[in-house]
Structure formats: structure tokens, C-alpha cells
Symmetry: C2
Subunit: 431 residues, 2 copies
Amino acid sequence: MQITPVTAGRSPRVLIVGAGFAGINAALSLRGAHAQVTMVDRKNHHTFQPLLYQVALAVLSPAEIASPVRTILRGQKHTEVLMGEVVGFDLKARNALLKNGSRLEYDYLIVAAGSTHSYFGHEEWAVDAPGLKTLEDAIEIRRRVLLAFELAEKQVLENAPHPTPLNFVVIGAGPTGVELAGAISDIARHYMTRDFHHIDPRQARIMLLEGGPRVLAAYPEDLSASAERQLRDLGVEVRNNTRVTGIEPGVVLVGEERIAAAVIVWAAGVAASPLGKMLGAPTDKTGRVMVDAELNIPGHPEVFVLGDLAAREQDGHGLPGLAPVAIQMGKWVAKTITRDINGEPRKPFHYFDKGTMATIGRNKAIAQIGKIHLSGVIAWLAWLFIHIMYLVGFRNRLLVLTEWAWTYFAVQQGSRLITGDTNLIGWGNAD
Amino acid sequence: MQITPVTAGRSPRVLIVGAGFAGINAALSLRGAHAQVTMVDRKNHHTFQPLLYQVALAVLSPAEIASPVRTILRGQKHTEVLMGEVVGFDLKARNALLKNGSRLEYDYLIVAAGSTHSYFGHEEWAVDAPGLKTLEDAIEIRRRVLLAFELAEKQVLENAPHPTPLNFVVIGAGPTGVELAGAISDIARHYMTRDFHHIDPRQARIMLLEGGPRVLAAYPEDLSASAERQLRDLGVEVRNNTRVTGIEPGVVLVGEERIAAAVIVWAAGVAASPLGKMLGAPTDKTGRVMVDAELNIPGHPEVFVLGDLAAREQDGHGLPGLAPVAIQMGKWVAKTITRDINGEPRKPFHYFDKGTMATIGRNKAIAQIGKIHLSGVIAWLAWLFIHIMYLVGFRNRLLVLTEWAWTYFAVQQGSRLITGDTNLIGWGNAD
């Protein structure tokens, strides 16, 4: 379905909400279009989420995986960048309401506000088991992981009577949980030992708790099994069919069992941004907006919902909340708006699956490219190559490559800085 | 004066409080000594303070100017690193009290806890006019500076009736104040304009308020005058003999005058760490501990006070609170303890002034090396060279050099990320 711009002769105003993969790619691909584009985001930066866990584990610095939205889009004269929070929509009057009260009018609205953690109704768990979605999350997890090692060393030095066990519990064995568990193991066994004199790395236990029957459930069973083997090689204790029933400071509850944990990370649940519900269209149980083949909500060919916020089936399967889906949606919507402007008919969105991959640790990964299943070093090299290629900005690619080479060959880590609250966490005699 | 280790035959325990320039250099120089060294700091990292302003102005990332203390000292088997806060001393029993209640015994105590901001009794000003001493301070100032530009752009786009003037007020024209004012000007005039479509860089006013008669008062008058000229070339409004009488949100008061400011930075006063007073020795009016020619407090040849925390005169002048003084003191104390252990007599501390320099902006600096006074590009190149050489760690030197070359030649900036609170500051219609 095609719509005609409201005012003939004027180039249409495209409002993009959210500077994630979908939004940024939509904005970049609208570069040549006869449209006035406005990008609104609460943050000033686009984050390369697939590498967030590397910031959380102190391998990379925040600036290496994030770029200011303005800098990414500065080559585009007809694109405005606004830092602000959208809190509502008036679909009839075609405008979005900002938190400061001002309204942004549009002819086309692209909502790509992404997703956030879901604690399945236990939001109180967030304090003790943070998730990993933003740079701030990554810095917070980094702080907790580094402080856990500091506390462990301190307790040995001070002969603490009841030292905190150096346990790391990751809840949820999706891609993020697997990456985090593998990376914590790498850090504990390879990097940390050289900095600490008293911690025995074998003391560090890394537990990965998964509610379902297998890790990386979105992958075929053989890759899933390979991933679990690779995790065990790294010393990660994988526990499938393990449902967390409670979280307290420093303790994860699994039924009657109480697992002591110096650090708990939540990688189990995802909920769509609340902006989805504000569109007034049907949503699924995680709050994602049901969109048609043109990624529109019913009756509004001028309103698109993209990325993690969109619920869309293809060939009988729901499209996954992955960067490639969001990127393709972003590019597609830009083409579709250009077609509208040129008076050409729209084509439905179709996701082309080039393959997916998940990293597990140093030299360890799995990859699925069509019918080809890869494991181990080859999958890891493919993962490395693709992630560097997709990083926004040449400067970042160069910095990350340098940092990784340094980390890999010097077996030394990048940016183990603790900023913010320096109180040692845990209980006992922390100060 | 020489002391004998408490227990003959056992290598003496050296406790170092503070991992700044003095403490780190003392620890590194004790590498070969027959001593058990313990380093305690509240943070896990040593910060290269002379480059903090570059983090505050989003040129460098925190990880590029800071290194974990453990990593710096990891080559030394007999050196322990503890993250903890010292809250008191028992000089008689020879131990230091940590916040968590445990005590660290010593044979030698080195107190190098540095200094913090002083608001001359107006601590309430700290909220609106943060100072620059720690990485957290730098990240906070970066957040405010970047948000000020975001707000200015937003107000133009939204036709705000009373836009916040894009004024930056730096209070205090010592080295930090001068660096900050010059760097803000560089940013506003060179870097920011390419990212923003609506802000006129000439709107940005940078004011440097100095209570005394001239900028960089520690330097000879001709260099001081040159620095002021170079600042004016950069468009900085220098106001000498200007005493701030009050600070309110977004306003600096100078008597009756009210100066509107999007960002206020405090670089006017320094106070010694409160740990100085806890030693029970005489202190000067800024809280620095008066030390003798062997950097000891009266009656305690085993207690040394170094760096910014020490008040020491030499040739009729007080030693300045600069990195070179702290570094030389740190190295000297290590030698002195080694002499004690070897039964050799002590030699008094003598600061050797190799020259001092202050940077003002791109290609702009002043330097004093003995009787030679340098200004402009040559002084700036010397500054660049020396600051890279003194950065701890080869990796950091490499990263900073790459970043600077990139910034300089591409006229593009490094790490303009806003993390933490993303509320736009100021008043009016900020959200």
C-alpha cells in the first residue's frame, strides 16, 4: 500500500525514534531521498550491542563500541539529530510527544525503540542481577566483576573467616548469556591470575543457568551441543532445565537450593520497549507490535515498526531479535519510503538469512550459514571478522582491532577500570 | 635520621597509601628492595591527572589515561595491592585502620593521599560547579559539556523563546583552568560545528575567571602574558581580578553581576586530603602536612608524607603540587628506605626542576626550562612529547598517540559519549 505525502511539492518529514541498528540504518539509507529526516534518541550514541559484553568484561572501552549519533549522520544535510525521549504519539494529528512537552510532526513515523530486560514480573531482581542492554549496564557489570576479584584477594590477605566464594552466576543461556559466561571464564583463568597474587583461579566458578533444555536454543541441536561442550572446556558449569525462583543479594535461588554468587548477571528475558503499546496496535505477550508484510500497523501505512520492537512471522517462524534483521528492516523501510516518494509500488519486507553466529570465548564459537554448521576456531574467526566489519566508523574498527590483537597476543586486558561506586559489593567484611 | 627495622632479620613492611604519582613511583622504585610493600588505594586505578581534562573534553577515553594499579605493579612479587580506604592511623602501634575495620601493620608508612577541590567554605557550590580530580569528575564534566551543545541545538530546532546561552565558565586560571578553557574553545570552534547544523560556534562564549591579577601565576610574567594572549587568540574571554561570590544553577555571581552559564567548572582551589590531619603533625592552612628535609613528620622517621599532601619549602619557595615533584619524592623515598635497610645514612630530599609547561590548546602552550621561556607551537610539541613519555604503560602510549594523531589530522574527536544521567541540564524546556 502506498501513501501520498500530505503536502504535495514538499519533501515528506520522516521521524525515526531510536538510534539502534534499525533506526540508524533507516536514517543512513534515506541519505539520497527527498525527505527531511529527524532522528530522536534518549542517548547521544549508537551502541554496537553485540560487543557490549566485551565492555562488561573489561576487554573493550565504551568509546570503542559506541559512536555519537550525530557523528554517524553528520554527512547528511537533511537529517536532524535530537536527543530526547518520546513519551507518546498522536497518530491522527501525526506527531510524537517529547518528554519536554514539544511535539515533532511527521509524514512518516519509524518506531525502532528496541527492547529492554524482562524479569518476568520480578523487577525487584534487577538490583542484584543487572542485565546487559546499554553502555551503563556494561559499565555496572564491569564494576561488579572487577570488584569481586578485588574482594576475593582482599579476603585472602586479611584471612577473612567466611570469604565470599568467587562465584559468577549468569542466568539465561541465549547468545548474551553464553558470551558472558565464556568471557568471564577467559578472564578468570587467563588474565586475572597475573594481576592477583593470592586468588586461585580454580576457585572461580562460573555457572550458566538455563531454564530450557539446552543452550542457544535458537540454533540447531548439534550446534547447541557443540556450544555446551565448548563452554565446559572453558570450565563453565552449564545447568539446563534450571529455573531461577528467587534472587537475593549475593544469592540465586533455584527451588530449595541457594547458590552463593559474587556477581549475578541476568540474560534471561527480553521485553519490548513500552513505546510499542503506545501505538495502540495489537502487541504480542512480550509487548512487540504485530506488523504486516510492509512492517506497518493496521490502517497506518505511514507508521512503521522495526527491529526488536516488531513481531513479524516469515515462513512460519517469528523473525528473531537480531542485528541483521534490524539492519535489513532499516534499509528496507528507507527504500520503501523512497518508492512512495517516487510513486512506485511497495514491495513486502523479506528477511534474508545470511547466517548467524555466537561467540563463546577465545577461539570458541558456533556459526550457522545456510546448511553449513561451524564450530570452534573457524567459527570464531568468522565471528571476529564480521563483527569488526560491522562496527560503525573506521576509527572504531581500527581501535578495536588494535585492542583485540593486543589482548590476544599479550594475553593482557584492555580497560579494567572501576569507575563510580567503589564500595566492594557482597557481604562480610567489605568496605 | 635512620631507623632500624623493628624485627631484625625480617624484611621491613612498607605501607603506601595512595596510588598517585608519588605512591606509584615509590612502589615501582622499591622493586629491588628487601621489603614487603603494600599499596592501598580507594580506586583500582592510577590516573594520569595531567590529561584528565582531555577526558573531560571528550578527546580521550578514561582507559587511555588510567591503568589498574595491579597491572602497573604486577611484575613485583613482594608488592601487594589492596583496594580499600584508610580512615586512620595508630602511629604508636604502627598500623593503619581501614574502613572495613581491619588494620594494616607497617614498619614504614608512606602517606601520599593527594589533594581534592576546595570551595573555600562553599562546598554547596560543588553540585553546580564540579572540579576535575578524578575519572568520575572528568566523565561528569564531559556529560555536562556535551549535553550543553545538545540542548543548544534542540532549542534552535524547537524555536525556544528563551534559549540557554551557550556559555562556558571556568573558574580559576591555574594550569587546569587554562587547559580546560582552551580545550573547550577548540571543541566549540573546530569539532562541534561539523556535528551540529544549527549552532553558530560564535555563539559559544568561554569565560575564564581568575581571582588574581594574571593567569598561570606560578609562571614568570612574560609567560603568563603569552598564555593570556594565546587564550584570547582562541576566543577565550580572560577576566583577571574577578572574584566569584556565588554559584547558582546555571549562574555565576561576581558581585552584582550574574553570568549565565550552560556549564561551570571549578578549577580555583585545592585542599589536602583529610588523611594529612589524621597524622597528628602540624599542617598548613590548606591541610598539607609540614615535613622535614627527609619528608618525615616530627619524631617519626618511619612516616613519610609525599606529593600534594606534603608542605615543603626549598630555597625559600614552597614546592608546587606538580607531578614531577611527586614523582621525584616517590623515587627518593624508595632510595631512602633502601639506604636504611642497607645501613647507609640518609640524604635529604632535593627537588630538581627540569622545567614546567602548561598547554593552552591545539598548537598553543608555554614552557619554562631553567631560564629558557618557550611559547606557542614549540612549547606545545614539547608538552605533547613529555606527556606521552610519562604515560604509564606502552599500550596506553600507543593508544593515546593514535587517538591524538587521528584527532589532530582528521579534526575529529574521539569519544563523545554521554553516559549516566541523560537529562539535559540547565533550565527552560529541557527534558
